[in-house]
Subunit: 485 residues, 2 copies
């Protein structure tokens, strides 16, 4: 145990606050670009040291962790590229006009500036990509916000070592000391979100923990935004035509997706809706039984999984198809039910079961399918498997799902989140606490930026990018017209 003391948490926050001005200055963007790339390079160079630590602490396999580290450094560099491109700052210039229709118009120059120090809470299931140097940290740093990371207790040594590498790389590129630091322990995490100098929080984890932090952030004398990704069921809906055209392929895809990473992805498909008489159960059961047992992240996750599995199995009308196993390294489990049972037992069946379990739900007709779709709360993803002829006919289902999910997939599987410009990783509550944002992709930076406008300000007091003379060549909107260099 090495929980941070209250004084250590305060010291980390004070250091972040002290670093905020220099690190977040609009003229410091070139430094931040260099810093993000330096962090990426340093992490890549440390792969042979970090991956074994991650393997020992998370029980995830080497290949997965190396891939995750590659993704992590890719996204750091993607944010660096976005900073260089410049549109993220939303530079906007309005010329003065004494004869304007609403009266004399001043010279106004607007851009986005960092909100200030950010508390990032590492996730258990992505020791690299959603932890110390993960997407929340990368986007906050890119925005110009110092970060205090609350390490996840599932990988403390990795968090510490990653933190050292991140801190050193930042400083090597000219960032102030205190731009990044790591704190540990449950109490430290609670304290962190209440520290007055912390101006936003970012979190990936369970609904109870995320909601408690969200509530604490909202209850502060100065409430702050809290970007929590809490839980998702990621339902998959299969049409009759799709079953007929490629039922076996869907069955094997489903098994692969829900058991991937021992079912410990936030995008794991937790429910598969199939039409009555689909005839795929044998395929699905056989495939599920063939998946090997594999270790879960830690004991807490394993015991949580066992508990939820028991809750679901105990519902009258739920038939256990594959019992699987529980313990540190479970074999996948599978159950089946129908829409009326699902709708009558939403508390038990429409709650996330984090681990290698999914529920097959048969629907009698389109009305049942829509009723089920409309029963869901917010989700990260929702998926439809259909044929070309279905696409235009499914408008009701598509609308029901896009009202409830951040990403809609067609004929795919939700596990695997591409770090690209058009990705949306988010969704209505409880998928996230802030559906107007994403936590993956370049626009995740927007969570940590606030607009300011300068009125009739002389060049000498302006950030370089807003000056009248010698402004860099970036994307800007001038007198309402978007200009791309």
């Amino acid at each position: 145990m090495s929980d941070s003391t209250p004084a250590q948490v305060t010291a980390a926050v004070d250091a972040a606050a002290g670093a905020a001005r220099a690190f977040g200055h609009p003229d410091a963007v070139p430094m931040r670009i260099e810093a993000l790339r330096a962090v990426a390079d340093a992490l890549d160079a440390a792969a042979d040291e970090l991956v074994p630590i991650a393997m020992a602490e998370s029980h995830l396999p080497e290949g997965r962790l190396r891939g995750e580290l590659t993704r992590t450094t890719y996204q750091l560099r993607l944010f660096a590229d976005y900073l260089a491109e410049g549109s993220w700052a939303e530079v906007t210039i309005d010329s003065a006009d004494p004869d304007w229709v609403l009266g004399a118009k001043p010279d106004l120059r607007r851009l986005l500036v960092p909100v200030g120090p950010v508390a990032v809470y590492g996730a258990s299931n992505f020791p690299f990509a959603f932890s110390a140097a993960g997407g929340d940290t990368a986007s906050a740093l890119a925005a110009g916000c110092p970060v205090v990371l609350k390490a996840h207790p599932g990988h403390p040594q990795l968090s510490r070592r990653t933190g050292e590498i991140v801190s050193a790389a930042l400083v090597s590129a000219g960032a102030p000391e205190g731009t990044f630091s790591v704190v540990e322990g449950l109490e430290a995490g609670k304290q962190l979100i209440t520290e007055p100098a912390i101006k936003a929080g970012a979190f990936t984890g369970s609904i109870p923990a995320g909601r408690a932090l969200y509530d604490a952030a909202a209850a502060r004398p100065e409430p702050i935004p809290f970007y929590g990704e809490l839980g998702s069921l990621n339902p998959v809906f299969v049409t009759e035509r799709a079953v007929k055209a490629r039922g076996a392929e869907i069955a094997s895809g489903f098994i692969g997706s829900y058991t991937l990473g021992v079912g410990q992805f936030c995008t794991k498909p937790g429910l598969l809706f199939l039409p009555e008489g689909h005839g795929l159960l044998d395929d699905i059961v056989t495939a599920a039984e063939q998946v090997e047992a594999a270790p879960m992240l830690n004991e807490r996750v394993a015991s949580g999984y066992a508990g939820r599995l028991g809750d679901v199995s105990a519902v009258a009308g739920v038939q256990v198809l594959v019992p699987g196993s529980t313990g540190d390294a479970p074999k996948p489990a599978l159950a089946a039910t129908d829409v009326p049972t699902l709708l009558a037992n939403q508390d038990a069946l429409l709650a996330e079961c984090f681990g290698p379990f999914s529920l097959v739900v048969t629907y009698a007709d389109e009305d049942q399918l829509l009723a089920a779709a409309r029963a869901f709360e917010g989700n990260l993803t929702a998926t439809i498997h259909g044929e070309d002829d279905d696409a235009a006919e499914l408008a009701e289902l598509v609308y029901a799902l896009q009202s409830r999910a951040g990403r809609l997939l067609w004929n795919g599987w939700p596990t695997g989140v591409a770090v690209t410009w058009a990705m949306q990783h988010g969704g209505p509550y409880p998928a996230t606490t802030a559906s107007v944002h994403t936590s993956v992709g370049p626009t995740a930076i927007r969570r940590f930026l606030r607009p300011i406008s300068y009125q009739n300000m002389p060049d000498a007091a302006l950030p370089k990018v807003l000056r009248r003379q010698g402004t860099p060549d970036v994307v800007r909107r001038v007198d309402g017209v978007l200009q791309v260099p």
Copy 2:
């Protein structure tokens, strides 16, 4: 009295929810453009009917109200123009790439969609521009969100009549019934923010009322964003050089700004910082004494003003320069103090006094000036009056102020908020509850939009703007490159 019953509130929300799909559809943007313009035209056409109602209820003068109505319809048309321009939707397309560095990349198509029905709380001091058809309503409707307006009790008849005109104009342009409705009463307002179908709130008013609604929005089973503009002191800092160069001009500008609209603007300059020995007091006092008495908005505002004026005057070390008067139509008041007294009495002196009062604060040196600037919480605006030679020397002050305010002015006065692209009307708490957004200007729409991403979705199930074939010519980002048609 005509408070809405709980059933009437629920009916209004249900109607809004029923309208949300058709009104918010991405393919319905042309209809929304027409609808916003129809609302603007209808309000302009009704000016001679509406302005007298507003005069009777708000006691504001005709010229001001006609100008405010012009601003209101201007911003409705500005949002229509922004919808037509298209960049607001953030259309983003990533091509599939089986050989991508992080593994096979899917076809991803992203845009912003409306969050759903919005509760808008009208303000007392802008019966047009921040009320029924004001900026919050205009931006929510532009986003595709139906609106349920909670009318301000200071102008109920105007809210009702404006609401009728807005509703009729929306329907005439093809918007569904229920896209806009009005509810009244304190209890109705409280109920509205807890209605499950309401997905965001927008508010302009006092800190206690705004905080209560913010807390209620955050405490919902599904928390929702609440965009409240609550209070602002709008400090003005004058350098020694500026006093020497144009002290008399500053004195008269100050009086004009703080007494404008009987001091009932959210951007009223509440404190004026002058260097010791400035020699301007006589000018300021004389000018303040010459301002005529004028009616306040309503009794509640008048009695609140009298109370705050008493609190400030009672502070030891505060010298009342101009006692002014209280009552329905007060004459402006003015007091003076120094920075040490200000810092020792922050609860009384760093709180908004809504009405025709301001506080002149003398500072002994730059350290006192900075200490005062750093004592402020969040503000909508902060202003510096300086000469050219000051601009580069005031970096510390500029940073202190831009950390605490949404808009920084140079040699101007904060009253008057230009509705333009580069305007920022917002700021850290308690200026607003969401400093990452603005409530004035086209980007105010961003408060009511959430991103969704479609993965490998066929054209038939996509909004037109995201299709592969026959897409409209709008601003988009394709494979990371921003394209302006």
